[in-house]
């Protein structure tokens, strides 16, 4: 990082990890009033927004305050709808299904770039997880390197002697106590060793490394499962439920791993909700930050039972 560079990277030797700097993001728009929402349509006589049309369906644009940008990656914003008060959970099913195709198209296009090794689609929902714009949207980072978490998932493949998500899915289905929802193509469950009270993982039943490998029906059922879960989340405490939604897929660069998994990576979506009760947050504090050990206040099986009831109410 230098004064002339807004984006840079340093290596933190003690943890053996890199830290990326995007200094200009300090100036990014922060919780504007709805009249000044940059993701709303540009209406006649109204302020100019990021989207210069009075109505739209789904829009992707380059982030004005990128953490990564060409020729060293990408940062995009994905706006789900022109309805400021909607959410992923309340989208019409056809719109949610279309969003899966948008994600797929961005994965393929960004993944084809030589400067992008990993395409990461995610959504931060709620001020509790640091949202700066309330309008329903997600983001896509095209990392110019393979980030640590996907790297750990590849290490899990090696440790388990095959595709780790395939193995874990089989275990969850055999146990059954933490399964929240199933359809023909997708299974949703609270993982055996969940870190967050209401953490949930959404897995493709078949080994699909990425959205690119999914059939149209599978994309439709993925949208169905994601909406079923997020509606259940909102029903759990009868309030908009904050979360981080993380779409994990195969890296878009060649990787070297110690085991043949018939293509590395298995499309799944992980949710990290910070609420442990209706009004109490789980904080990453001393043990989590200083020792790297997550201390959970809840049992995954008990959380799963509550979430199943909430999903039934939310449908």
């Amino acid at each position: 990082v230098s004064d002339s560079s807004k984006i840079g990277r340093r290596f933190e030797e003690l943890r053996g990890e890199q830290v990326d700097y995007a200094i200009h993001r300090q100036q990014r728009t922060f919780l504007p009033t709805r009249e000044h929402c940059p993701l709303c349509p540009t209406r006649p006589g109204g302020p100019q927004t990021e989207i210069p049309f009075p109505a739209y369906e789904i829009v992707v644009f380059d982030n004005r305050f990128p953490a990564f940008e060409a020729p060293h990656g990408a940062a995009e914003v994905v706006v789900y709808t022109d309805d400021h008060d909607a959410s992923f959970a309340t989208l019409a099913p056809e719109r949610a299904e279309a969003l899966m195709w948008v994600w797929r198209q961005r994965y393929i296009e960004l993944g084809a770039r030589a400067d992008i090794d990993y395409v990461y689609i995610f959504e931060n929902r709620g001020v509790e997880v640091g949202v700066t714009l309330h309008h329903p949207h997600g983001q896509i980072y095209g990392y110019p390197f393979l980030p640590p978490v996907p790297k750990l998932e590849l290490a899990a493949d090696a440790r388990l002697g095959g595709c780790a998500p395939c193995t874990l899915l089989a275990r969850e289905l055999a146990d059954g106590r933490r399964v929240l929802y199933e359809n023909d193509s997708v299974v949703v469950y609270v993982p055996y060793a969940a870190r967050w009270a209401y953490e949930a993982h959404v897995l493709m039943r078949g080994h699909r490394p990425s959205l690119r490998d999914c059939e149209p029906k599978e994309l439709r059922l993925l949208a169905d499962a994601l909406q079923t879960l997020t509606r259940g989340y909102d029903a759990l405490f009868d309030r908009p439920f904050p979360y981080v939604m993380a779409v994990h897929q195969a890296p878009t660069t060649a990787v070297e791993v110690a085991v043949d998994t018939n293509e590395h990576g298995h499309l799944h979506v992980e949710f990290y909700p910070p609420l442990r009760t209706a009004d109490k947050l789980k904080y990453l504090a001393g043990s989590e930050q200083g020792a790297g050990t997550f201390i959970s206040d809840t049992l995954p099986e008990e959380s799963a039972a509550k979430l199943r009831e909430a999903i039934a109410r939310g449908r």
């Binding site: 100019q48 210069p52 049309f53 739209y56 369906e57 789904i58 992707v60 380059d62 056809e94 198209q105």
Partner: protein
């Protein structure tokens, strides 16, 4: 998209290939903002979803 405001223009005007394409149930229109950032509009097709 047919009536563009002054601060966006079709991708072809930025020296890139013009693309009007489809992807599953959506049509894709690629634009560029006057600051050079890409803007991609996705619209649901009216002729049904892929099976």
């Amino acid at each position: 998209v047919s009536e563009l405001p002054t601060w966006v223009y079709p991708q072809a005007m930025a020296g890139k290939p013009a693309e009007s394409s489809t992807c599953g149930p959506v049509t894709i229109t690629r634009l560029v903002k006057d600051d050079g950032r890409a803007l991609i509009m996705y619209a649901l097709k009216t002729d049904g979803r892929p099976k």
